[in-house]
Symmetry: C2
DNA sequence: CTGTTAGCGCGTTCAA
DNA sequence: TTGAACGCGCTAACAG
């Protein structure tokens, strides 16, 4: 079933059918209705490839993530895809990670598909990709990209608010020795989180001894290892801030093995707020980055690039904030707790999240 | 940069360029090398849409899942996509769930893109979708589909082995009162799991009182609710088998709140083996369905339909088995435990999984 | 083995 | 407002 048949059956030209399908306003309503009738009746599905070829626009956006199965990314994909449906764009998904060859294959795929834009959310290795696309004049969206031009849109993620809230939340609970378990220093975002942590500690006059700043790799194993190491420090920290949730969960698990009670003996804070964070025992206090806001920003940027007519580059925010979500893995520092009348009943975790 | 330019620069016809790109064997190696040189130098990326239009094949497979952010599906997507890369297919992803309109939009998108096949992994609402695609002669893969024809490939998931292992594992540990928390009866797969459970219990002469067969909805909340309800039964069950992992995790959490020790007071078994299952405290004993095997089966079926030449429909298995993975959420029944010399040390969970 | 040519199905001029 | 005709970039016959 092609456009020709519809035209013949509706007694109009293919141009009219095309206009009807594309909702061009200047089509005679009577003809339009007749055409739509036939389309409905015959079950006509316009061929996307022919459309793309004729119009020069594919109505496909690329989305590159490091791994679809790492928590956090599925949410982004979901939100991004949903926006795609709303605006009639398809999403070409690629998961690229570390492997330079796969990475280029993915980029090639996007370009051969003539995507109208690409969102690169790989958090760390986008540099070389951006170049490839720039050469082909494909609009790109990337997190925390250094420069921005007509073809490269970006937003900063503002780690400080969430981390400041974290540090001050812990300080208010009486914690002084606060450890930090970061990600690998190769990752720009991991570095930014760590710097923000150190800055926020200094702001309120807390010192951060280097011996309780650990470098992990954002896995649960790394969290467990770090917890083990930290537990044998002369002056054991009373709180551990982690640069992602998996690390924090690893810390919690190891603490359990070491018979440390959380939060009575040790407070733990994560980062990302993956869906599982609220179901860990105890529910994890963590810094939230809205996956939805990231997806929104990315999609809006690409849409703007693809259809500049719409609203002339307006309403593009340029930084995404972070927030602390207080759950049950943080509590008063042990010494302060001893002074308190009695400890809160175990297992009485509230269902709702508190934001400060 | 189009094929014409490459042809001109390499001093050959566009047909030769096309053949070179498509690795047709009969091209003079000298010419081929010359062409490849130019392609490389000019950075030529063949236009996928034009290719699809000319050849009548899109090299795109559709993949429909209920929700990308539910654990289990990301793994399937990952595996499926990886196979796509290997065989030079792109994946058009759609998450469809409950909403009839979105569902049809998704199907329309697939058809308009002229996908060479669709894998429908929605576990429950594929019926109407299958029809739409059959009409358009699009090959479809679906789990547990009733009939199969040339256009509809399918595999059964064999729930019984895993559930039989579960039941016998628990029986061997001395459990007699074994409860079951299933999913909604609307879901065919949930029903199949429940039936398998009841059959396997009867096999070994254990009775299943209806009052400890609960119906949930595959969420953590449902698990918690069921655990609460079961804990107040006159004769409390000593083990709970759940029809998915989230439910099991909900049970565990509620048990924690109720100060029930797992596995000393209560054994819990899940289903699916989502990645998080091994990181729950205690690590969850669960029935595993290999996400990879599902993805493999789906992809192989679609590939066979799209390129029948390859190996003539061979090596297509028609059932995917399930296995019990024993971790730390199951243990001896309480009465038997009392007889034992001493309980195993808390927190000494092994890192490796045991399969029976 | 190579080149010529006719579509693939639709968007988009340009006249009418 | 409508229609005829051309072109998008490539594949696939077929002829050489």
């Amino acid at each position: 079933m092609k456009i020709q048949e519809i035209a013949r059956l509706a007694n109009v030209s293919i141009a009219t059918v095309s206009r009807t399908v594309n909702r061009v306003a200047t089509v005679d309503p009577v003809l339009a209705r007749r055409v739509r009738r036939v389309i409905e009746k015959e079950g006509y599905y316009p061929n996307t490839h022919a459309r793309a070829l004729g119009s020069g626009r594919s109505r496909v956006f690329g989305l590159m993530v490091p791994e679809v199965s790492t928590p956090f990314f599925p949410e982004v994909i979901q939100a991004f895809t949903r926006l795609g449906v709303q605006h009639n764009y398809e999403i070409l998904l690629s998961s690229v990670f570390r492997d330079r060859r796969l990475l280029e294959t993915a980029a090639r795929q996007m370009i051969e598909r003539r995507v109208d834009g690409v969102a690169i959310l790989t958090f760390g290795e986008e540099e070389s990709l951006i170049d490839i696309f720039r050469r082909r004049r494909v609009p790109v969206f990337a997190i925390d990209a250094d420069c921005a031009g007509r073809l490269l849109k970006s937003v900063r993620i503002d780690y400080e608010p969430g981390i400041r809230q974290t540090v001050q939340h812990l300080a208010a609970l009486g914690h002084k020795r606060i450890a930090y378990v970061g990600g690998t220093a190769r990752l720009k975002t991991a570095l930014m989180r760590k710097n923000a942590f150190q800055a926020c500690m200094q702001e309120i006059g807390l010192t951060v001894s280097p011996e309780i700043i650990m470098e992990g790799d954002h896995t649960m194993e790394a969290g467990a290892d770090a917890a083990m190491a930290l537990s044998s420090r002369r002056e054991r920290p009373t709180a551990i801030v982690c640069s992602n949730d998996l690390t924090a969960i690893g810390v919690i698990r190891k603490a359990f093995d070491l018979s440390l009670d959380i939060p009575e003996d040790l407070s733990v804070v994560g980062f990302d707020d993956i869906p599982f964070a609220q179901h860990v025992i105890p529910p994890l206090t963590t810094v939230q980055i809205s996956q939805k806001e990231i997806a929104d920003a990315a999609f809006a940027a690409l849409l703007n690039a693809a259809e500049p007519a719409l609203d002339g580059d307006a309403r593009s925010l340029n930084s995404i904030p972070t927030y602390l979500v207080v759950r049950a893995s943080t509590g008063m520092a042990p010494d302060r707790l001893r002074d308190a009348r009695r400890s809160p009943p175990r297992g009485a975790y509230g269902q709702t999240n508190r934001y400060i």
